[in-house]
């Protein structure tokens, strides 16, 4: 029997299928990422020879107030893009799936879900345009509404006031993001065995009790996925900042992603920009592996 030799030859020829994808991965992701790390140890304007300066860029980062501020703003965005949407998404998904779907029919639930999900399909740049115009200080729709109902004092320069701009951006991001957990959680709830709910109901559990003790533990995997992907998305956020505020006013909405972009293409401090991007990458990779580890432990 020549079983073993064929199976080895088999594996060899399967490897051929991996060649195009592997080469592309190398050329577009792995080599550029390595180059970025290399550049972060240099001082370079993008033209001429990069000058090796070791860890100087990273030392400079430690005492750069703008850099730390940009991470603080990022924490706000994690709240607005991951934590609040997950909490709101759980309640909305349960209300739609458990309540509206059962009492009024799943069609109604599907239509409401579609309305809530719609902002998710907008290109983020377009969503930014819509909102920067609604939030315009002079003739923006939001201030017009407030004036129309006599609340003139609440009309604000939403994106132009340094104390307010980050909160406004957070509000916009919440609007964009909330549909995603709703859709994922509703899909997860379809997986849950209805007999669990029936048993809890027989035991006299209230709606909230069933939500908290049956639904939430059952869709834990979905909650993990949503928290992880939304947190990463919040750390990478660029387009809304570019379109809404350009990091301003006075740097009050700057984020690491936009700060590295500024260093690359506006200040031509390429080495420094690369250092910021590298720190951001390490943060995201560490966070991802911690998340996956916690999730694995939870499953055991």
């Amino acid at each position: 029997m020549s079983l073993v030799p064929t199976s080895i030859r088999d594996r060899g020829s399967y490897l051929l299928f991996l060649i195009p994808g592997g080469l592309l991965l190398l050329a577009v992701i792995l080599v550029p990422f390595g180059m970025n790390i290399g550049i972060s140890f240099t001082e370079w304007s993008g033209a001429g020879e990069p000058e090796w300066i070791g860890l100087d860029n990273y030392v400079r980062l430690m005492s750069d107030g703008t850099f730390w501020a940009s991470f603080r703003h990022n924490v706000g965005l994690v709240v607005a893009m991951a934590i609040l949407p997950t909490l709101a998404g759980l309640v909305i998904a349960a209300a739609l799936f458990d309540f509206i779907g059962k009492q009024f029919g799943s069609r109604h639930a599907a239509i409401l879900r579609a309305c809530i999900y719609l902002p998710q399909v907008l290109p983020i740049a377009v969503a930014g345009i819509v909102w920067s115009w609604i939030l315009a200080p002079q003739d923006g729709a939001l201030n017009e509404v407030l004036r129309a109902v006599g609340l003139d004092s609440l009309a604000q320069n939403w994106l132009g006031d340094p104390d307010l701009a980050l909160w406004t951006v957070m509000g916009v991001m919440l609007w964009i993001q909330v549909g995603y957990p709703v859709v994922i959680f509703m899909a997860g709830m379809q997986r849950v065995d209805p007999s669990l709910h029936e048993a809890a109901e027989l035991d006299g559990a209230s709606w909230w009790g069933r939500f908290w003790h049956v639904t939430v533990p059952q869709i834990r995997p979905e909650i993990f996925v949503v928290l992880l992907t939304c947190t990463i998305a919040a750390l990478k956020v660029f387009a809304p900042i570019y379109v809404l505020t350009r990091g301003g006013p006075g740097g009050s909405t700057n984020v690491p992603s936009y700060y590295s972009f500024q260093n690359f293409f506006e200040k031509t401090q390429v080495g420094y920009g690369a250092a910021i991007a590298t720190v951001l990458t390490v943060l995201i990779l560490v966070l991802t592996s911690v998340f996956l580890r916690v999730q694995n432990r939870g499953e055991r």
């Binding site: 399967y14 991965l25 309305c115 377009v126 609604i134």
Partner: protein, 270 residues
Amino acid sequence: MRRHAVLWSMIVLAVVMLVPFFIVVLNAVKTPEEYSTGGPLSLPSGVSLDGVIAFWERVDFGEKLLNSVVISGSVAVLAVVVSVFNAYALGIGRVRGRLWILVLFLIANTLPQEALVYPLYFLANEVGLYDTKTAVIIIFTVIQAAFGTYLLTSTLGGFPRELLEAARIDGANKWQTLVRIVVPISRPTLGVLFVFFFIWTWNEFFLPLVLLISNENQTVPVALGVLQGQRMMDATMTSASALLGVIPAIVFFLIFQRALTRGITAGAVK
């Protein structure tokens, strides 16, 4: 009583989510005069497409749409092909070290584009692909295929072994097995991947912004974002631009819902 309270609060929420879309449509069909006298909340006296047409001509929107379709369409096709090849080797071929290769693809998928942008910009310049659609197509093919490989490998890992065995006994080689057995049976999943890749690429902003510098190569989101950044549009033109950005997204949304439903049911039948 309480059931209606829940229903109404959900309806109110849905309406709040949609209000920005209503305001955009409302103002995109106004004339600039109507806007300056009545503000953003007044009802227009009729439907005027002047703002939309003016904006369309000013940015040559047809060209931007075509760019976006070409880039997103090519990326979706190529990324599905690359994902299938990778997943065939990893999920069905089970090549040595597949776990580590998979981790590599997963890392590629989570890397922030900020950590790739400058080297990509530099390399694109070196090989003469800077400011070309080709560069953007190649880059996003790899980025999307990294996710596709991850997803498809687990799907193909559960591919019925009897079918592969039967094909082998019939004398099919690896290539024939892939094209005649694996791809046709996985079609629903591949369809969903195609739709995802298309929409994700359409919505991309950061790398296209950096790599597509000239007007005639820009995609829809980049062209709109750049114009918005220059703050040179009046209110009706801004809402017209927002409307033109929203419409393709809503079209995709409807297609996407159908594809997703079909993909899920097709998977269930199997």
